[in-house]
Subunit: 289 residues, 6 copies
């Protein structure tokens, strides 16, 4: 037997305790940003998901698709417009958002999993009335068809999961009042879905190392944050800008019963596997205690 | 009690024998063309499907979306190009086709069913590796990413159906050789899906009355065609042009075990219900005997 | 397509929201009186039940059979004797009651449903020890084998229902103390069965319009009665005579958890369908609020 | 411990191999005649059935009720009329037959089993369309509503059996042509039901010892008859008169796949238990080899 | 029919009410001592268990094996050493204990049940991590590998039971702290298993009549002891010596939810059957009231 | 993220295609010899089995235990006696064999799997009558209680496997003629069990590299043998001595429907994992084509 074979086998059996810990549990992964743009990283994320499914961990993949939306808007000669960091979504934009998320990004992820030998089912929040929303009301601004989730019905996700498929979810919601489709922030949707499924973990794959004490120095990564420390960290300015809504999602998910939530760096290869199947904590983990 | 109420009840109980005939059976409906463009007709088709689901008939809806694809191509400044009646589909076009079918038409149908109180799951041939295809080879012409179905795995449809959802299917297939997405003719896909599901019936909703002996005279409708008569009807020129592939689909489905196939007029309101739940035969029915 | 076909289809789809409301729910119908004597009305009641079963509403039919019992008693030269509106039931009469209810009326209803293509299972309160009773003690009068229900075991009804059969129930009970068969008032039995099954609705099919403010003027029908108003209506004399026990059944059923109860006119054709699948409220509905 | 207790225990464990042989199997018992008239014998038959159910042997009880029918006919002043040993059944008689079998005999057996702590469901051939028949045509004689079984649908029996109930069956059938109820010979019905259920055994409880070589000498009992010997025994006149149809039932059941059939003496106490749970063969057993 | 056959049948049906009482319930039997040494008694115990399984009572057999352990220790030239009535179990002894209990006694019981036509699965407390223990700490004495149960996981027993097997359990436990195997007192293990299974009854088969008021006079048997009387009986010296731990097991089991517990005489043939399937109370029954 | 973490993740995802190939399949592993004596190797084998279970591959472990039997025989002063390579097994020896295999080796393997966080159920061929045998008749020699398998009932193994337990099997069989326990060769038992389970693979863990063309030169390993080549290899003397029965087991298993069989070197760490989850073929594989 070659040394390589031995080493590989040795590595595999080292994963035993981690697999035992999460087997039969549901883990919601929010996927977006750079990890979605690089082909290599995308292949790695897909590989991680297929492997985790094989060892009996139920992954639910929630995705965004900002860059692809921008690109398509450009192609039809429509300007991308953002207010307070949120995309202003008029009817025409909403149409593009829906097509890109449900018809392009979602189906591409499904294809990749199937090509890797996994089984996937692409869903949107419209299917089975999974995500219901009303028009976002915030600061008196009109964001168009940007929605605020009012209800999650996880049955359609469970049907896919229990049928042995990885559910891949595009975050479009059905308007409870008007039947229109609404654009939903993917982090928020992932958190709400994790709560509705009673998930063990919520993992946000991002473009940063995690929460840094000094945002310009990766060595100042804060590995663990207790939920009750979040307010202080905001006051200190350590949690600021785009991190605020992300971390609010994490805290919210934990209030809703999700055991642990993580902000990890999607720019590193196999970051999902490292987080779930090794001792090496990466990124920032939020815990309740 | 009002006369109206009595009349309605009377109508409902007259449907009993038809419901009993198809209960628990699967009926594949190919939906496209004008029935898809008119809001009223669309509402009626959706209503028919929701009612049929409620009485225990399993509808599987397969849809195309030619007009919407043309519109989107136009919007991005891309010309629609057809060869021998088939859309020439280069990579850029394929991208648009996928987005429009899976992200716009499919999700709109899902929304309509959900708004009517039904339960729907939007799928494409990519999900669960449902439709697999190779590049179409016909007459030595290159049609780009137009595919020829090589295999159908109906498991993902059954998962949706058995979970109580109406499966809504966009006819994109996964390339067996190259992993690319391929554009599939919706009639053909519907026929293959009907075979794979062991469906009781295949219904093609079209823009014509059915097969006419004189194509300019609707009074010459041929209500029933036996499979063995098709060749003669082709020789006589009665089956010609765009009817040839449609009727080949019907014959093919019957060879594959589907009991009966129908070409009916989607321009008439509730044509699906009339076909399934009344004595009035409409359109042309193809039978094996 | 004919106008008739369109109209019929239109009627069918109008039933969608009503079907959605009651699908998978259990509705107990007490059937007796004139609706049982007229062949046309009987055919309509049976048709309604078969249709409701087909759309997934679980009907449990509880029946009496007074007129047929009288007829049979006459045939064997035995006088029908009533005390305070209750049939005095000696051993010989009980024998006839059992034969007529279980062997004639019950099996005739089963046959009619089967002939209409439905599936029915005829049961009595003796089967599976469904209804248990002790001798009625009221006003110091001896009514013979007239019983007072002490316990309902709905398992045998559920076995029939879950097997896809409409349970048809003759209201004979097993004596807890002596093993004799007891004659049970069908309204009371229907109410107790509705409670034991956690039914959504109890419908009493009667020979009157409903509760009338002036019993000689059908235009004075009271469409809705709140449970707490019943005492006042009794005091006013509006609820009187034979209506008292019927309405007590309704109130009792609601106390036991049945959502709504109805007294409707079995002399009108399809009154069950009109009640369940239309907006037209008929008869008198009792509600808890 | 008392000697009695020891002896009883000893007897119980001696039944082990017999129970093991028939556990999970279905045994159809035709019950009628004297075993049904004597209260003691009836109590014993019921006890046997309850015990066999408890040890996991599925008993299906098919009953007649000739004496009770005669008695009721007499009571309504109607003469019992027999042609070639078959009851001539006009419409009025049929009405009485149905009431007595389904409403009296059947429900009495149900009550007895329930009183003994067992679970029973009383059924007729009308329930679930179990027995279907056409008018008997034999020797050019009109027997009225006497039927010939054309089809058996055992689903309703299985629903009862699998729900843990002993199915008790009154042999009334639904006319396939006219929807009328037909009177069916109980031996024949039992044989057809045994075939439809794939029963292990058919046991006919009769008023005789079994097949006797000399009908006046019980010591000439023939314990085992091979199917192929039946014709010779008929030729010899050993099988004659009322025994012919009974033994034809046995042979017919075996042709239909029932392993063994028995004609045993219902006048002896616990004859069913002795047949099934001991080495002592009683009556006549018919075997295929 | 012979008188013997009648008598046997009569005996069988007398068991009906007792079988009805315990059907589908779980009864844990601790088996050891003389009932295990005599071949006749062993055959009777096995027969009782097989019969009880056949009538649907779930027996779980927990066994010791002291005499066989002593014999084997002797054979390898190792002295049996007891401290305060407990076997001092060094590593070498533990090895022998495990082999004798799991490999000899357990498998012999399995064989006997299988030979009697039953189905058995031999388990130890190690299988499926059923019994977990820590080193016994009592009176400052070192008993070696004698364990104190800390946890019972009954899943492996349920898997066997629900698969139709009689679980036969050797009382070896896994050390929670060190992974060593520990020797567990069989009475204690039986009580803990009965609690974990929510058993109806715990029966300890012993070498004595039951609890005697005067231990030298079997006529002073105390048939029923209420839990609250135990302390007084200890104070009086009626419960003393080896009876103390046995009766503590009984009381403990009842505190844990077991309905009734029994100390019965395994030296009498069929004592289990007599206890469960007759009116004759034998031995001493402990009840909660 | 550390390089180590990346490398480990990379290794894990490389296992994907191998896991996909064997998921849900049953693999029978015969375990014995040196791989069982070395603590390190034993730990590795156990780790491999636990990992394979976690990824959904159903391992059934069949074990021998020759060295431990010899040791125990020695301890009781009994000489090990072999005839033609088979252990002569008198009654006393059989007793020891049973105790060592079922009570020591089997339970130790169970403990190790449980300690590694897996779930195991220790069984012998006696449990559930799994292995039935008659006395071996070969060359007119009396081998005592050495058996020849006549029947395998895999139900008890399936009950364990489907309950989520790794079945660990000691190869003792029940004598069909005399009820005695018989000693069975573990390779043979493994092959018969693999056939009865319809296993995908049979793997014999041995003390050699595999089949060598020159038995003294490991570089002459024959990696693949086709079933039809076996006779020639025997004729050439390449298959000889102790290899003959082993390879006959492999050929026999393939005749019985097992897809592939392997003889691999248990002296190398993780040889099971390498065989199943890598491209590196080790040892000798026997294939049918």
């Amino acid at each position: 037997m070659s040394d390589v074979s031995f080493e590989r086998s040795h590595t595999l059996v080292q994963a035993i305790p981690y697999i035992q810990q999460f087997r039969g549990k549901t883990v919601v992964v929010k996927y977006g940003g750079n990890a979605m743009v690089s082909e290599q990283l995308k292949y790695d994320v897909i590989s991680d998901i297929v492997l985790l499914s094989l060892v009996g961990i139920h992954i639910v993949l929630v995705h965004g698709g900002g860059p692809e939306i921008n690109q398509m808007l450009k192609r039809v000669g429509k300007e991308s417009k953002f207010i307070n960091g949120l995309r202003y979504t008029d009817a025409e934009t909403m149409d593009i958002v829906k097509m890109v998320l449900c018809g392009k990004v979602n189906k591409e992820l499904v294809s990749l999993i199937e090509q890797r030998g996994g089984k996937a089912m692409g869903l949107s929040g419209l299917d089975g009335n999974m995500l219901r929303a009303k028009k976002l009301e915030k600061d008196g601004v009109d964001y168009g068809f940007v929605g605020d989730i009012t209800e999650v019905d996880p049955d359609v996700i469970k049907t896919a999961r229990d049928g042995g498929y990885v559910p891949i979810i595009a975050t479009i919601a059905a308007g409870v009042d008007d039947g229109n489709a609404y654009n939903i922030n993917a982090d928020t949707a992932a958190a709400e879905i994790a709560i509705a499924l009673g998930a063990e973990k919520l993992i946000l794959l991002t473009d940063i190392k995690g929460l840094l004490r000094d945002k310009d120095d990766e060595s100042t990564l804060i590995p663990v944050v207790r939920a009750h420390e979040v307010d202080a960290l905001k006051a200190e300015g350590i949690i600021s800008g785009g991190m605020i809504p992300k971390i609010d999602c994490c805290v919210n998910a934990m209030k809703g019963g999700v055991k642990r939530t993580h902000i990890i760096d999607g720019r590193e290869r196999h970051s999902i596997l490292v987080e779930l199947l090794s001792d090496e904590g990466i990124g920032t983990m939020f815990i309740n205690e």
